[in-house]
Symmetry: C2
Subunit: 371 residues, 2 copies
């Protein structure tokens, strides 16, 4: 019992394959009565179009490749969920490739996806420098959007969170709640998240204390570094630790608790990204929530654009994040342990106005893009 084809539907409805195709694809008007007959026959035969044949003929597979460095990075699962949701809403399927942080594997996966004739690619580059070549080559063949990280200037369209705004939100919040001696626990390197967050801290922290921009400790984006960094930063007697991502914050929080420090009474801890673990820590970690659904929607929108010929300027879209205030940065007066929901809800309103400010910043700012 093999599947029904257009031929079968045509035979059953007494018209030609061309007509059936037109009815089902809606590409050209067809007589109302005929159309009804065709639809009935298709329904009755349980006709399902063959995507392979369609792809061959129309040169479009309805498929997007998603290439990421490590699905186990705790920030990516939500991003993947939102991306697949946004793309499915456009009727596109998602081919997933995890390249295990290896640029060579990444290049292979990209080549394989291109051979599979994906309509477009979504890439979170594994490496700032070493991903560049493969990404650029792919971008020359299909629409390609970089997400979350960059890989050099002028390679392709890109969508990411506005790290500077996020860091400002954190520093404003800490200032407003009376913290003065802050330290930054960050990541070394030139990758966008590491560098942008570091620079934003350095340029923004001066408002709290002229010396604050100098109190920077750099490692990598890991819990282990968060733990170790506390031992280094402790000599500065900080009353707040601003961490460049949530993993660092989790590690810092653990080490502080091991040392018997009171969080947030003695020292506040903040993260970045709002991975699930940030909410599940005790106390919950105040952090910057990336607007994941919106990032995904922007990426999907860029991929929907018709493939213009000739080189057009690449678009860099930055979306402003929200601050999620949890207990790890509660004001010192009341050492507010316990359920975090109250303070979180209270701050969410304050957050609303901020997120409104920076809805979408399209750096190329073409007029026709504004809706």
């Amino acid at each position: 019992m093999t599947d029904a084809t257009l031929r079968d539907v045509a035979r059953a409805s007494g018209c030609s394959v061309a007509t059936v195709s037109r009815v089902l694809a809606g590409t050209r008007p067809v007589g109302a009565e005929t159309a009804e007959r065709v639809r009935a026959a298709a329904e009755q035969l349980d006709y399902r179009p063959n995507h392979a044949a369609r792809a061959l003929r129309s040169r479009a597979t309805g498929t997007v490749g998603l290439v990421l460095p490590q699905i186990t990075n705790p920030f990516y699962p939500t991003l993947v969920r939102e991306l697949t949701r946004a793309l499915h809403a456009d009727g596109r399927a998602v081919l997933l490739a995890d390249c295990d942080d290896d640029p060579a594997a990444e290049a292979e996966h990209i080549a394989d996806l291109l051979a599979r004739r994906v309509d477009a690619l979504l890439v979170i580059p594994a490496h700032e420098r070493r991903s560049r070549e493969a990404v650029a080559a792919a971008a020359a063949r299909v629409p390609l959007v970089l997400m979350d990280r960059g890989c050099g200037p002028g390679v392709a369209d890109s969508v990411a969170v506005d790290n500077a705004t996020g860091m400002d939100l954190v520093l404003d919040h800490l200032a407003a709640t009376g913290r003065r001696r802050v330290c930054f626990l960050g990541a070394a390197g030139t990758a966008s998240a590491a560098a942008e967050r570091r620079l934003a801290y350095e340029s923004g922290a001066g408002a709290l204390d002229p010396d604050a921009p100098g109190r920077v400790f750099l490692g990598d984006f890991s819990v282990e570094w968060g733990r170790a960094a506390v031992d280094e930063a402790w000599h500065e007697r900080p009353d707040a630790l601003v961490c460049a991502n949530d993993l660092i914050a989790v590690g810092a929080l653990q080490r502080l608790q091991q040392r018997g420090a009171d969080v947030p009474g003695q020292v506040a801890v903040t993260g970045f990204d709002d991975i699930p673990m940030a909410a599940l820590s005790a106390p919950g970690i105040t952090t910057v929530r990336q607007p994941v659904a919106e990032l995904a929607a922007e990426a999907a929108r860029l991929l929907r654009r018709p493939p213009e010929h000739g080189s057009r300027p690449h678009r860099t879209i930055r979306l402003a994040p929200d601050l999620v205030v949890r207990d790890s940065s509660a004001p010192q007066q009341q050492s507010g342990h316990g359920t975090s929901e109250v303070s979180e809800v209270a701050e969410v309103t304050e957050v609303g106005e901020v997120s409104e400010v920076g809805a979408v910043k399209d750096m190329t700012a073409r007029p026709e893009e504004a809706q």
Copy 2:
């Protein structure tokens, strides 16, 4: 500059398309000299086979659909990584669909993947009962393997961890380290993980204490329940909390620490699954590690099987897990805080012999399957 096709390669190498196809696909022997010419031309033209055309002609897309309930469930990212790795090794690409715990969305995704002519499906059912229909229908059309969870008997092949063995490992470890008053913090319901782990606890805990099998507290698989469950279980004055998964264990650990209880000095905590958070907690949580890579390999192997005609008995494969001992269950004598690596390594050897016992249990136990 469009892609090179077989025609182009044929023209360039002075032979027919058929010959080129044979050389490149290796389906039939071809003269050495001709083959060399073809390969050179293909290389020179940077020929890439068109998967759409190939799929149309050979009725195989080289694509597998992966349907899961929630990519944000912290156990799934590693599983997804290992599955994609195993499938890519077979030259198959992975179409990902996240159905957000909604059986209706799951059914839609399955239908879409079938329309896209996936060669096979890998499904982690969203619901024990409500996923059954769509899964059964799909299994009738393509090879289908259920993972992690079941959805009723006799629906399809399935691969999962051996929950009973895992629970035994935990109970043996607790007994060996002197724990006697254990409680079980589990999940209600009939889903396989919830039920099997609960039953295994009830049948195994008697060895520690005749009353232990009765000390069972049921909620769901969440951190919140773990926190709440501690308050219920605390009246039993336990010296060990056996949790049905790592999220519950994380919550339990947090609540215990909030109450000022000493973990592991006063009470041990164990989890199940070995999600990343278990290792990153402080103290690290002793847990049962699912053999994720092996589960993925088994699933891939089942999908590789040629599609036998007629109904064959479904295979249920259970793989034995390992115990990962971390500080949350360190012996009470030495209240061993600090680095967990030492005790973990020490136990790993003990674990080795256990994992050897239950390498692969193929419940259908066909002789030709044993290698």
